[in-house]
């Protein structure tokens, strides 16, 4: 178990933050909406993947209902914003709603062993999606006045800020004592508990961070789209995307989800034109290969290649 605060991870983290800072200049360099939209999607995906990674990578719990918190954040933020709340506050409220909702779920669900926790959260996500789809079936559209004043660059900078925040949070958490305890739980929960780690509190802490961040991402989603179906934000696709990105990049690291997000969104957009959803066949295959052969993801692959070169 290498501590997160080793130089390689810090170097990666710094590199990512620098790249994000550089991306701040993008709206000044180009006026093309499709480029900004593309990068926006990457930034949103980074946030989503980092948020999922906090529970899966650090504590080791696979949450298949992550979309529920994304959707809740979107729902609360959208509702408050359309009632006049400034978007920042609305998004924070969305994050808070998601985190508060997560607490009782965590308290109940964390007694379940791995597979049961995963399918339990999956069921919860579906319950929420079905309920929202029935209660709010109409499309949610911004009032015309707001459409007129829609500025993509605002959304872009917010996404940039959120992505940076998620990377910093992940880094700080990993380097902290809490993060160390979480990793101990991931390796062997019983042993960790026996050595006084206080497993439940740490798991809840990770859950709150994970779902709060997901809620923020959801709020961003609600801010970004002019019109969308509220239940779409609860679709399990968001969970699956986060899972794929995190694992393919490298679960449990800070830079893994970032790498995974970039690769995933890029390939998906490239394939989307001609082969809708075919990206899932490819990524599903890569994912399975990674689980079987390369559990550390592409990040680990990079380390292995490096070792190969050092030896020769």
């Amino acid at each position: 178990m290498t501590p997160l605060a080793n130089r390689r991870e810090l170097a990666w983290g710094a590199g990512i933050l620098l790249s994000l800072a550089a991306l701040a200049l993008l709206p000044l360099a180009t006026r093309r909406d499709d480029v900004l939209n593309f990068v926006f999607l990457i930034l949103l995906s980074i946030t989503l993947a980092e948020s999922w990674n906090m529970l899966a990578g650090y504590v080791g719990q696979v949450n298949l209902g992550h979309a529920a918190f994304f959707g809740l954040g979107a729902l609360v933020a959208r509702t408050l914003w359309s009632l006049g709340t400034p978007i920042f506050l609305a998004m924070l409220a969305g994050a808070a709603a998601a985190a508060v909702f997560a607490l009782p779920i965590g308290a109940a669900a964390f007694r379940l062993r791995g597979a049961y926790f995963a399918v339990g959260t999956l069921a919860l996500g579906e319950i929420l999606r079905t309920t929202v789809a029935n209660v709010l079936p109409e499309i949610s559209t911004l009032p015309t006045a707001d459409i007129g004043t829609y500025r993509l660059s605002h959304r872009y900078y917010l996404a940039l800020a959120l992505a940076s925040l998620s990377v910093v949070m992940a880094g700080l958490l990993g380097a902290s004592r809490a993060g160390l305890g979480m990793r101990a739980i991931r390796e062997d929960e019983d042993a960790a508990e026996a050595s006084g780690v206080g497993a439940l509190w740490l798991k809840l802490f990770a859950l709150v961070l994970s779902t709060g961040l997901a809620g923020l991402a959801g709020g961003l989603f609600a801010f970004y789209h002019i019109s969308y179906y509220p239940s779409h934000a609860f679709s399990p696709t968001w969970t699956f995307d986060a899972l794929l990105m995190t694992f393919i990049g490298g679960v449990g690291t800070v830079h893994g989800p970032v790498l995974g997000a970039v690769v995933y969104v890029t390939l998906k957009e490239y394939l989307a034109v001609r082969w809708v959803d075919f990206h899932l066949v490819i990524f599903g295959g890569i994912f399975i290969t990674i689980v079987l052969l390369l559990p550390g993801g592409l990040v680990q692959a990079g380390a292995r290649v490096r070792r190969l070169f050092h030896r020769s």
């Binding site: 669900a109 399918v119 339990g120 069921a123 319950i127 959803d277």
Partner: protein, 289 residues
């Protein structure tokens, strides 16, 4: 009142298929300790196999079982050999998590392939006898669905017999209880795993055929049926195929009652809510050991 009774009848009819779907999942989970979340996708594939057997080969959908069941068993062997056979080598905790992830990846791949190959449209099998209905005490019972229920029950019964009287059926049960003791008894546990997984896939394929003939099939039924099977497994626990079948029927009835009480859209929700509640209260299920 008779509208409610009608709904309950329909709930029982589909409940039998829920039980059949769950039986395959339960077998694999009980023996290999692997929760195959791609199980619903395997059901979906069985449904498409039946659909194409009817459309391209002109077979009778029930007759297509003759083709689909062996195909499903073979698919199970391939999937075990290529994927799940590798995860069973690890200890129980790693095995559980890795198999969950692999099942997830498999489900994504199968779902996306189905969308690519056959589009997202719903398909139904049309037969000359498809609309036939038996009327019993003022309630109409669609013949096709009734036949499906009977077949499902027969398959479960056959499975139970296999597990109790077939040498390898007993070996499978022993492996599920204690794989090390099974090894010491001379049982090749890897082969027991392979058999159980193949049988589980065969059960899924069978369920798929019955689903597509009585209802419809589309790529999206995968997740839906995985959840149904999970709900029933958690309700009924592991270890009894008959118990699983009954659990399926209970779920069907519960859905019918909730649709009557809260309206159609909430039919799905009640099963999921029961699932979550039972999971938290009794992870071993109602019937299970």
């Amino acid at each position: 009142m008779s509208a409610l009774a009608q709904q309950i009848v329909l709930g029982i009819l589909i409940g039998g298929l829920y039980g059949l779907a769950a039986a395959g999942l339960s077998l694999v989970f009980g023996v290999l300790k692997v929760l195959n979340v791609a199980h619903g996708e395997l059901i979906m594939l069985g449904g498409y196999a039946a659909f194409w057997a009817v459309a391209l080969l002109g077979m009778d959908p029930f007759g297509s079982l003759v083709l689909v069941v062996p195909l499903s068993l073979l698919t199970g062997v391939v999937l075990y050999g290529a994927l799940f056979g590798f995860v069973v080598r690890a200890n129980e905790e790693t095995r559980e998590k890795n198999s969950l992830l692999i099942g997830f990846g498999l489900a994504l791949v199968l779902h996306a392939l189905a969308v690519r190959l056959w589009t997202a449209d719903e398909r139904s099998i049309v037969t000359p006898y498809g609309g036939a209905v038996i009327t019993v005490a003022g309630l109409s019972v669609p013949v096709v669905r009734l036949l499906s229920l009977v077949i499902a029950f027969a398959v479960i019964g056959g499975l139970q017999l296999l597990l109790t009287h077939w040498r390898w059926g007993k070996a499978i049960r022993a492996t599920a209880e204690d794989w090390q003791a099974a090894l010491l008894t001379g049982i090749d546990v890897r082969r027991a795993y392979l058999l159980a997984f193949a049988m589980g896939t065969g059960l899924a394929g069978t369920a798929g055929v019955l689903v597509s003939v009585g209802y419809s099939v589309s790529p999206s039924i995968g997740l839906e049926w995985t959840l149904k099977a999970l709900i029933v497994v958690v309700l009924a626990g592991l270890g009894s195929m008959i118990g699983t079948f009954v659990g399926g029927i209970l779920l069907g009835v519960a859905e019918a009652l909730s649709a009557a009480a809260f309206g159609g859209p909430y039919r799905e929700v009640v099963g999921l809510v029961i699932f979550v509640v039972v999971l938290c209260a009794r992870p071993r299920g109602l019937f299970g050991r």
